[in-house]
């Protein structure tokens, strides 16, 4: 990628001194986020995602490495100048972090006050933002009078108040129920598409990635272990850490415990087939087995859709003689279908 990146991290590490010793939250991460894209950063909790996103708006400063927003090196600025940069970066949070002492309108107007806008301008912009998130009628409510989804919409309106180019979403839907999550994700998608705001989405939820991310980076142990277009990373993870995470969110392959249980009722050979983008995929697999006289019994699996493309895996118990099963599996390989035998 070229120098047009809106966000650029160069060899960034963040080490904390804790009573239990030094803890590396972010370990030598280099990353670029292009203007206009939605980048998903995924990983288990404790992988360093939240720290990483706080390095982007300098809420945390890296122990080493450099952070750029556009051409500006955040790590070279004074704290006062960094505050100015933060005014141009919105942020939303898992727990919403609304000011309880302020009304909905007061929350949204807060960044405008910080930016030094006059009352008339603040009022006009606040009304515009509340209209955008569909909460104009709740302007004079207090946060505790709102539902979780409404709170997050206020959070989004507040984050967008100063017309930022970049929005950071730290587990923004993790405290919401599935339906509300979908609403908030749709709103974020609209923010990206209609307002052209670049978004970094930190999440451990598949839904958030599936719904909006263009590109995804997988974090594990403070490092970005894999990144690329969402479909590629989920359909064909290349690193064990990424594969482990992808499996755990897709739930398409049996866990060792599940496999153990399956074996008790299915004593035959068991193979897992990776779903591929082949027309009539299931028919192709079934006939590949049938050709060799192998009976394939579907015992586990999951197929979901990512960016209008199928992703997932199917686990079969195979009945027939060993040579026939081997021939059938080779037949799958010949058709470009990945599989592995569960042992």
């Amino acid at each position: 990628m070229t120098g047009e990146a809106l966000v650029r991290l160069e060899g960034v590490s963040k080490v904390y001194d804790t009573p239990a010793g030094r803890r590396t939250a972010v370990d030598d991460v280099s990353l670029e986020v292009q203007a206009g894209e939605i980048l998903g950063v995924i990983g288990y909790s404790g992988a360093g995602k939240s720290t990483l996103v706080r390095l982007v708006n300098a809420l945390e400063l890296p122990t080493s490495g450099r952070v750029f927003i556009g051409a500006q090196e955040l790590t070279a600025l004074s704290e006062r100048d960094r505050r100015g940069v933060r005014q141009g970066i919105g942020m939303i949070f898992q727990q919403f972090n609304l000011f309880r002492s302020r009304t909905v309108a007061g929350n949204v107007a807060y960044p405008l006050r910080v930016a030094g806008l006059g009352k008339a301008e603040r009022d006009a912009r606040t009304a515009e933002l509340l209209d955008f998130v569909g909460l104009l009628d709740r302007a004079h409510s207090y946060p505790e009078q709102l539902s979780g989804g409404q709170k997050q919409r206020v959070g989004i309106a507040r984050a967008l108040a100063t017309n930022p180019r970049l929005l950071l979403a730290d587990e923004a839907t993790s405290a919401l129920d599935p339906e509300t999550t979908a609403d908030v994700l749709a709103l974020l998608k609209r923010v990206n598409r209609d307002l052209g705001v670049t978004i970094i989405v930190i999440t451990h939820e598949m839904d958030a990635i599936r719904a909006i991310a263009d590109r995804v980076a997988v974090m594990d142990g403070g490092r970005i272990v894999e990144s690329g277009p969402v479909y590629d990373v989920f359909a064909k993870p290349t690193t064990p850490a990424a594969a482990r995470f992808v499996r755990s969110v897709l739930q398409d392959r049996p866990s060792p415990e599940t496999l153990e249980r399956l074996r008790q009722s299915h004593p035959g050979r068991i193979a897992t087939v990776q779903v591929a983008e082949i027309p009539g995929f299931i028919g192709v697999v079934t006939s590949a087995f049938a050709e060799h006289g192998v009976t394939a019994d579907l015992i586990f699996g999951g197929i979901s859709e990512l960016q209008q493309r199928p992703v997932g895996a199917l686990t079969y118990e195979l009945a027939g003689d060993d040579a026939a099963i081997d021939a059938a599996l080779d037949g799958l390989s010949a058709r470009g279908i990945d599989w592995n035998e569960e042992r």
């Binding site: 708006n57 809420l59 006062r80 505050r83 100015g84 940069v85 933060r86 005014q87 970066i89 919105g90 942020m91 949070f93 727990q95 972090n97 609304l98 000011f99 309880r100 002492s101 302020r102 807060y110 960044p111 006050r113 910080v114 930016a115 207090y142 505790e144 507040r158 108040a161 100063t162 950071l168």
Partner: protein, 219 residues
Amino acid sequence: MDFFLSNIDVFVTAIGQTLYMVVISILIAGILGLALGIGLYVTRPGNLLGNRVTFTVLNVVVNIVRPIPFVIFIAAVSPLTSAVVGTTIGPNAATFALSLAAAFAVSRIVEQSLVGIEPGVIEAARAVGAGPIRIIFTVLIPEGLGPLILGYTFIFVGIVDMSAQAGLIGGGGLGDFAVTYGSQRYNWPVVYITVATIIVLVQLGQFGGNALARRALRR
């Protein structure tokens, strides 16, 4: 009772002196204590202006001053009182000692009120580019207002109590009146009336504080 009625003007003056000491003290201690309490809160390592040295100094000073019994504190600060007020007796001297002692108590109350604020809310303010001073005035104080008002109400009661002790240095007020016109003359009705007056004063303060806190907390 006749004795009390014949001294009613002294009693009314005593109420005035108590109110004077309490109101002035709570204003001064309120402001000093707020500053000190905010200082304690923001300098705690990991907080807004985390600074281990400053925090430790503030913390130790508050811990040293706060447990000193007020009657001893009055004597201990008398050189300072003399330097600032010009005398060590009378309502103004008492108010000075009172304000100082209460400020340290207020500082802990303020710190505790602020601890209850969600760190995420402060982070949200930082994320939109707000600086520390702005965060103190536009986030910390408004977000902690309910507990702060309850804390100040608590301190108000403590100051009424301390103001009675301040009578010992000629501070005047209801405590002084109860002792010199009441208990020292074995005139118990005077003591009862004075104590009842103090109780009414405390009740009024507590009711007022609770009402304000309810408004701030919207409950």
